[in-house]
Symmetry: C2
Subunit: 759 residues, 2 copies
């Protein structure tokens, strides 16, 4: 909690000095220790020194030197052999080894086969050192960051008209005033984000801005909205991209779902491979798309100018219902999906060349301008041409068919549309894992999202996104217009919270012109909030309810995750010890008898009061606090059992063996064998008239532990290991079941002594 609270109280620092500049790194999984923790560590260490003092240093005199680097060349790389010997480790310093690539290869033959496939698809693993932050020029950053935003015009105007046409073709004329309001909204949100960029030069994602200024819960709300947004960006962009293709090639129409699945799989593979490297190539589709739209607009304007800008009346269609305020608002909310992706630049400020915030802000201005031009142009032209949405062809395709003189240009337009939509979907594959990374760093998402894969991509986040988007895409049969109602809510929730966060930010900071900035952000927040409410209300029945329910659930889930990590952290962290109570956790002996200890049992103080509840006895932090009792369950006196017994006895700690007999006859037989062997260890026989073994052992050990919670029971289990998994079916699963049953018991350590069956 400490770090969190610190952060919450530090919103006025700008940029917060405790946020590292390079935020995405492989060492994020290993956070540094606080000074307090280091102090506790020192204190614990002093107890160790006492414990190890009179052992004549057996702990450092090792039977073999683990500094493997010195003889790495004689170690064959795998048990199965290869043609040559491979250097697995290279020595860096006297006591430091560096693993080479062969050393990270999996052991088993199946693992290696899997690895070969993965390598073929994803490429060889990349070393952490390859993780460099690429800096982009504006001319490259603009198309890459704006692909999500600009691709929205491929489905945004259509989404708006699809709603209006429900009130009959006469209602289509309302598209012009609605578009005008949307342009106002675009300008307002664009201006708002222009404020945000210089305030958060290290990246101003809605999650970070909202968390910093509005507290963690609203930050999580923004994050949940963004997560929904990213998932839907992939589903909607892929669906719309497939629409662009099938509009041009109608025979492919029945394959819509298959095409979408293939595209999502390709995006998944590409992103696991790490497609960010191909930056410059990614600039092309955006420019191609902008050129295509401008071309369509120009050709269209020439056409309508030729007839004196007289609008063509749309084909009459039956009204499903009357025109009303709800329908207009719903059309407005649907058209607002054209704005999705506007937040991309503010997330990505650090990728610009210096001065980062200035370049980012300029890029944002260009982006919004291009959006306004293309969006307005398309809405006006569609109106003038009297086009209406059709189920089998997109409006953009109809318009291109209408205006462009030849098939080649039409094909180019559709291809450019499909490509920019693909690229738009791809941006979600960058942003979603990054958002989860930030959440995981704060403990709100599982830690696996911190982990960078082989190729330095956040594989787990990428896979999560692809799978979720795929499920949604398939569930909606790849129909763009069915997906639209789910889309706007998440985005505008994030917009609203981000802008509201900026309002708080300005109020607290009171830097130069803070009042003007505050007003701009407040206007942005209010407008975005209005759209949010409109979208949630008018599209609730059409599908927005999914999002309205999912967002609180995601927040709750994130809070539960955080709670669990807090509990775990508290349980595992080092607490300062009250001075002089080294082994405070040991309750007093249950019986008076002081049994002698194998290691001499020197200064074992009778310790503090045993009031501590269950689990406390586990916190044995230095060697002299550990009292051993080794238990070896023995089924038969075969080689596996003898090896386990020999292992247990060789530890030099008190040992006894347990045997469970189903009946007296077998009991006698076993006892006789034990005598023949020489009765070297104490043997306990339990007769199990009900033939159960595992629960009996667990209860027995639990009872032992309950008697003397200060003793660590080590259960040494002989385990036969076979070469093939199907051979395992022929052997008892008792060791696995025993391990599982004993996991829940405190103070019980399980040791598996393997014996390998050759075939």
């Amino acid at each position: 909690m400490d770090e969190r609270q610190q952060r919450d109280q530090s919103q006025d620092r700008e940029p917060p000095p405790d946020r590292p500049t390079v935020t995405l790194s492989p060492s994020a999984e290993f956070p540094p220790m606080s000074q307090d923790e280091l102090d506790v560590l020192r204190q614990v260490g002093r107890d160790w020194a006492a414990a190890l003092r009179d052992r004549s240093r057996p702990l450092t005199a090792l039977p073999l030197d683990p500094a493997l680097g010195r003889y790495s060349s004689v170690v064959p790389p795998t048990r199965f052999g290869r043609f040559g010997r491979v250097e697995m480790f290279r020595p860096e310093a006297p006591d430091k080894l560096v693993a080479t690539e062969p050393a990270v290869a999996a052991e088993s033959s199946r693992g290696r086969a899997l690895r070969r496939v993965r390598r073929a698809v994803l490429g060889p693993p990349l070393a952490s050192a390859a993780a460099v932050q690429e800096r982009m020029r504006k001319i490259i950053a603009l198309p890459i960051l704006s692909s999500d935003l600009l691709s929205s015009v491929a489905y945004g105007p259509e989404a708006m008209l699809t709603v209006l046409v429900l009130a009959g073709s006469a209602a289509l004329g309302l598209s012009l005033p609605i578009a005008a309001v949307l342009v106002v909204l675009m300008v307002a949100v664009g201006l708002s984000y222009r404020q945000t960029i210089p305030a958060y030069p290290h990246g101003a994602g809605s999650y970070i801005v909202a968390s910093d200024n509005l507290g963690s819960r609203l930050g999580l709300a923004a994050a949940a909205g963004l997560m929904m947004d990213y998932v839907l960006t992939v589903s909607v962009s892929v669906a719309s991209g497939v629409d662009a293709i099938t509009s041009a090639l109608p025979p492919l129409r029945p394959l819509t779902v298959v095409l979408g699945v293939v595209v999502i799989a390709a995006l998944l593979a590409g992103n696991l491979r790490g497609v960010r490297a191909a930056g410059n190539l990614f600039a092309a589709p955006t420019y191609a798309f902008v050129i295509a739209i401008l071309m369509v607009l120009a050709a269209g304007l020439v056409r309508v100018a030729g007839r004196g800008f007289a609008p063509v009346a749309p084909p009459p269609s039956a009204a499903a219902g009357g025109i009303g305020i709800v329908l207009v608002l719903r059309a407005f909310a649907s058209g607002a999906v054209s704005m999705t992706g506007i937040e991309a630049v503010s997330n990505a400020v650090p990728v610009f060349r210096p001065v980062e915030w200035r370049n980012a802000r300029t890029t944002l201005t260009w982006m919004v301008s291009m959006l306004i031009v293309t969006f307005t142009g398309l809405v006006v032209l569609i109106h003038l041409e009297g086009l209406v949405p059709k189920p089998n062809e997109t409006l953009l395709s109809q318009l291109a068919h209408h205006t462009l003189p030849n098939t080649l240009l039409y094909g180019y337009t559709q291809a450019a549309t499909a490509l920019i939509l693909l690229l738009g979907a791809n941006t979600a594959f960058n942003d979603f894992p990054r958002l989860l990374f930030f959440m995981a760093r704060d403990g709100y998402a599982p830690r696996i999202f911190l982990h960078m894969g082989d190729r330095l991509a956040f594989s787990n986040g990428i896979i999560t996104l692809a799978v979720t988007a795929l499920v949604i895409f398939v569930a909606f049969h790849g129909r763009t217009q069915s997906l639209i109602p789910l889309y706007a809510v998440g985005v505008f929730l994030a917009f609203t919270l981000s802008q509201a966060g900026m309002v708080v930010h300005w109020r607290r900071k009171r830097s130069a012109h803070w009042r003007k900035s505050l007003v701009i952000n407040a206007v942005g927040a209010v407008l975005a909030g209005l759209v949010l409410l409109t979208a949630a209300a008018t599209k609730f029945a059409a599908g927005a309810w999914v999002v309205v329910i999912a967002i609180p659930l995601l927040i709750l889930l994130a809070l539960r995750v955080r709670h669990h990590y807090d509990t775990t952290g508290a349980a595992l962290s080092l607490h300062p010890l009250p001075a002089g109570t080294a082994n405070r956790m040991i309750p007093p002996r249950a019986d008076g008898a002081e049994t002698p200890r194998a290691d001499g049992g020197e200064n074992q103080p009778t310790a503090a009061d045993g009031a501590g509840g269950e689990g406390e006895q586990e916190v044995q932090e230095s060697p002299q606090e550990v009292r051993h009792l080794v238990v070896v369950p023995v089924a038969r006196l075969n080689l596996a059992a003898l090896r386990a017994l020999a292992y247990a006895a060789s530890l030099g700690q008190p040992v006894f063996a347990v045997h469970i007999s189903p009946d007296e006859e077998e009991d006698d037989r076993f006892r006789q064998q034990w005598q023949a062997w020489g009765d070297h260890l104490r043997l306990e026989i339990i007769i199990s008239p009900y033939r159960a073994i595992i629960p009996l052992l667990a209860h027995y050990l639990e009872a032992l532990h309950a008697l003397r919670p200060d003793t660590t029971l080590t259960v040494v289990v002989p385990e036969t290991v076979v070469k093939h998994w199907w051979h395992q079916l022929l052997h008892s699963a008792a060791p696995q079941r025993l391990r599982k049953a004993l996991r829940a018991l405190p103070g019980v350590v399980v040791t598996s002594v393997p014996i390998h069956i050759p075939a």
Copy 2:
């Protein structure tokens, strides 16, 4: 192999003295040791005495007394508490405990809920002492053992006519001569089994007779045939029983498959519960069925006598093909399914009262007589009444409709038929698990089939049978006549091999009248063999191919299982040691340096030549052969890691820690923490530029092991244990993955040190 070979060479002893009288017992899982093995054990034990001599007996001085019985009353039964304290163990003798029923209850709440359900369905667990062999009077044994055989007449005649009718209704007249040949066959097989019973008074299952006399492979062939037979007995009897019901109540016809599934599930539950106890009750259906058939026959004979035994011409039906020798043979083979179950008495000789074999033989004679009467009577009467098979009503139902004066008697007939078929199916639930038990005892089936469940039933065999029969029943949509072609092959294979085995038996034994006995069994073998060939050939395309393929596969599987158990046995058994080479497996040191050992390392001879291959170093049978090196992988210096380090250090063996860093920065940070703690143990840091951890550790430990195969590496893994499984998703799976990766490495022992997260 030894035991097996001994048995194969001892066929002339009669009964074989090494076969225990009570063959099914819970201690079958724990076979006794041979004298050789005991000698080796003594030899190994002498090495231990030397190893433990100068330890001032620390191994018997335990920190707490494991004789738990003395204080059982203070141990609460589970961690979750109950209302009263329960005695978990009661002391039997000073060093012997007996588990009470609460002690075998599962630990986890899910396990306990499951147990409650199981208890409700199956009843409370039974102690092993409850396994008493029930002895039956002939009047009870007859109906119980003959239900399978007699119930066959419910579908046998119909199976024959279903084939004949393919050649048109004129061909139906051939049923009389075919039935006559079948009666000859029944007499011959019956006489053959009369010979077998006194020769094998302890149970003369085909598997045992064929194994003893023809060798293990043909024994397995008989077993495979029987296994197919038992599975199909369940499927066919249930299908036919459901037919009897739906014939009487046609509206239930569409529910055929559902009814069958319910019946099989009921059989499964009943047998897991242990229905054998209800012996006397089981006698009723057979007598009821016999009475019903005799009633039908009597009424029918009165009817046909009234018209002077003039046969009614069957309704004309189109011939699907001409009458030919193949069709006649196929009809014969189909009719032969009426004989399935004839082997039941010979399997069950020990359940009779003394003199067992004489009572069994008398019962067999009665059974076969009843079979011949009912079978012949039904075939003749069906012919005289001119009945033909119909898809929606069984022939027996048609006949009963025809002959019986009122609905009540008809209903009684159908109910009795359904009940005896159910009982017939139930006998397979006794015989199949018993066969698997015998196979498992010989190492030809997985050992789980040796294990008696809670209720003293062989649960695993029962479940296997029910699942297999269910799959077949559903796959054939519960159609009796589709299942018939699969049926005869397995049965007659077992008959043939069993009788052929008896021929060999008589030739070897040459007791009184051996020539006569030999001839009878030879005739039986030849006739059964002819039926086998006929069935396999004529019904091959109709479905017998499944069985023809499955039987060799089952034999192969059994041989593979045996091979694996032989390999395992050889690897785990105690081999005699050459005198004076106590630690023969330790190869010479790789380097000259003699590192000091913690336990004093007294007389460590430099041992024999290290030519032994991989895996040999595992065979350390006495404590002084074990050299320790303890390795603790440490991810962060938290409480879990410190506990693992403290545990490792407290063992008093050489210890070092390994840390894997993704990069240099993290490496330095960790080293700094290690220094703050006090640098008490040697630390190895490996830098993993590719961020992999588990395979790297596995390779590192493998390399260490390769350098000094005589050293046992103990890897102490800290493992966080959470209360709920879904919390596990929030934690690294590294301990589990590490354990899996290290399983394959020889000489590596894995120790899990748990730390429990409270919530």
